[in-house]
């Protein structure tokens, strides 16, 4: 958004930051974000610092790169790769489905109660994960699940005979969508609210079709928010372990499960490898974040 200048000299005098010399601006700027950084430092970064340090230590406390080197075993690399694929799949699908639902409830001309009910429901559903969620899907689409049985008795369709299996990549992604889609709905709805009615009217006046309106006005405006939420969904799925563990526990080789085995389990106990795994996950998330930033900056140029 461009700078607006006021013709009123009184206002110009009152413009903040106070008209000091350039050099003194810096400290004041930082004051605004200081609480956040102090909070993050005290309650997020420092407490988990021993994780970063631990990734580079061995049991005797000496500095070592052995843990990091161990990350490059084929089974661990495979775990990272599967984790990334599942997170990406559930993030993109969840984002698209969530966007569709959000648009439907905001712009679809539906009664008012639909919107508020969906928002509150999505708030709850976004956190419905772990054992209850895994069990819910087993109870629905497992071999003796409600839907499986009903399809067989009413329509004579045996989905398992057709190759479906809830204990698979597809099944896990489907289960992940249960908390990914609501997350998207909850976060993107305010952005869709922000699409001013006037824009739609203006576009119509200029002769744009619905499709053109969407393609040239709505999508570019929503794009940065959409992308930001996709990365949030990605990180959300990437770090999610409870659901995967409960659903496909011993058949899926994903990083959080490996992490879990090292720092929480009953048998292995190499916390340093666990920390290295966590460090690797932070690294992957950082890379994803960089990619997202790059992508967004490119699209935001359009907005300016």
């Amino acid at each position: 958004m461009s700078e607006t200048t006021y013709p009123d000299p009184a206002a110009a005098r009152q413009a903040v930051p106070p008209a000091r010399a350039e050099g003194m601006r810096l400290p004041l700027h930082w004051l605004g974000v200081a609480p956040f950084f102090i909070f993050a430092l005290m309650f997020l970064i420092l407490p988990t610092f021993y994780l970063v340090v631990g990734a580079f230590q061995n049991d005797q406390g000496e500095f070592t790169l052995a843990n990091m080197a161990a990350l490059f075993q084929p089974s661990i690399l495979a775990a990272y790769w599967i984790s990334i694929r599942i997170s990406l799949a559930s993030a993109v699908l969840g984002a698209l489905a969530g966007l569709a639902i959000a648009v439907a409830i905001v712009r679809g001309g539906l009664p008012k109660w639909v919107r508020s009910t969906t928002m509150t429901f999505s708030g709850v559903a976004s956190n419905f994960a772990g054992v209850p969620l895994a069990f819910a899907f087993l109870a629905t689409l497992g071999r003796l699940g409600l839907v499986t049985v009903l399809l067989r008795t009413w329509f004579d369709i045996n989905i398992y005979a057709l190759g479906f299996n809830i204990l698979s990549f597809a099944g896990l992604t489907l289960t992940y969508l249960f908390f990914q889609i609501p997350l998207m709905v909850v976060i993107i709805t305010p952005a869709i609210d922000g699409l001013k009615k006037e824009w739609g009217e203006a576009a119509a006046t200029l002769g744009a079709t619905q499709f053109q309106y969407w393609r040239m006005v709505v999508i570019p405006v929503l794009w940065p928010s959409f992308l930001g939420t996709v990365i949030l969904l990605f990180a959300n799925a990437f770090g999610a372990i409870a659901t995967a563990y409960a659903l496909t526990g011993s058949s899926l080789n994903i990083v959080p499960i490996l992490l879990y085995a090292q720092i929480r389990g009953d048998v292995l106990h190499n916390p340093h490898l666990g920390y290295a795994l966590a460090f690797g996950m932070i690294f992957v998330t950082g890379l994803a974040n960089i990619f997202y930033i790059w992508f967004r900056v490119r699209s935001e140029r359009w907005l300016k």
Partner: protein
């Protein structure tokens, strides 16, 4: 707009089906506790417990306070970044993604190490201090969602113009944030509040290791090695949390109106 409405209803219906069918399956299973017939036995076992009410109340109060902390932390920060320091956004966004990646158990063990009874900042030395630390832990866990929600909301309003307009009228920073910006992003803040609330009610690891009587550990304790009770609990927890959120939603209607209210 008729075609539009049809598609909207269809999308909504498909979404509702996807979400409700697994919940119905869980419900159906929870009703099977008595052999051969449907009954509410599992629910009677769960709801009859006095600890259910105690822990739920505790978690609800903590959740509301956590939302306050979250809003106080995130709204000014997101606003300031948008206004003055857009270049720092990638760093802040990365930081807000960290709680999703770092396991909660690592965070809480870090708290115990840093803020134990013998440390310079002994949060854990008193019960209230521990409660406070728990709220901060929850605010940290909810940070990704709160930040993303507020940031998305801020994106839709013209922060710069609003600020300058307010300053023209002599408003100080607190007034600007509290009376100009906040009402305009209230819907987004509400989204963040919902997500925070759900997280706090269901959270288990931090509450358990910090030894506070929250709802999450209670759920875990009851459901641990049983078959039907956990399903009943999942349904109850879902229903109750949804109920609380609806209450928050209703209360928010009494907030100051803004130009960005849903049309």
């Amino acid at each position: 707009m008729k075609a539009g409405r049809f598609w909207a209803w269809l999308t909504f219906a498909l979404g509702a089906a996807y979400f409700f069918i697994p919940l119905i399956a869980t419900l159906e299973f929870s009703l099977r506790m008595r052999r051969g017939e449907y009954s509410f036995d599992a629910y009677r076992v769960v709801l009859g417990d006095v600890r259910f009410q105690e822990t739920f109340l505790y978690s609800t109060v903590i959740a509301c306070l956590t939302i306050v902390i979250g809003v106080l932390l995130v709204v000014p920060t997101a606003y300031w970044i948008r206004l003055r320091m857009p270049w720092i956004r990638p760093v802040v966004e990365f930081i807000t993604l960290l709680p999703l990646i770092i396991p909660a158990i690592v965070i809480v063990f870090g708290y115990i190490r840093m803020y134990g009874s013998n440390s310079p900042l002994p949060f854990l030395a008193t019960t209230r201090g521990t409660d406070f630390l728990l709220m901060i832990g929850y605010a940290t866990l909810a940070l990704p969602y709160m930040y993303r929600a507020v940031d998305t909301g801020l994106r839709t309003i013209d922060v710069r113009t609003l600020t300058e307009a307010a300053q023209v009228h002599g408003a100080g920073w607190t007034t600007i944030i509290a009376r100009i910006i906040l009402p305009n992003v209230l819907i987004a803040v509400l989204s963040g509040a919902f997500l925070t609330f759900a997280i706090v009610i269901g959270e288990f690891t931090m509450a358990s290791l910090l030894n506070r009587p929250a709802f999450g550990p209670y759920l875990q304790n009851i459901g641990a090695n049983r078959a039907y009770e956990p399903a009943a609990l999942a349904v109850i927890a879902f229903a109750i949390t949804w109920g609380c959120m609806s209450v928050i939603q209703v209360l928010s209607r009494f907030a100051p109106k803004s130009a960005n209210n849903p049309n």
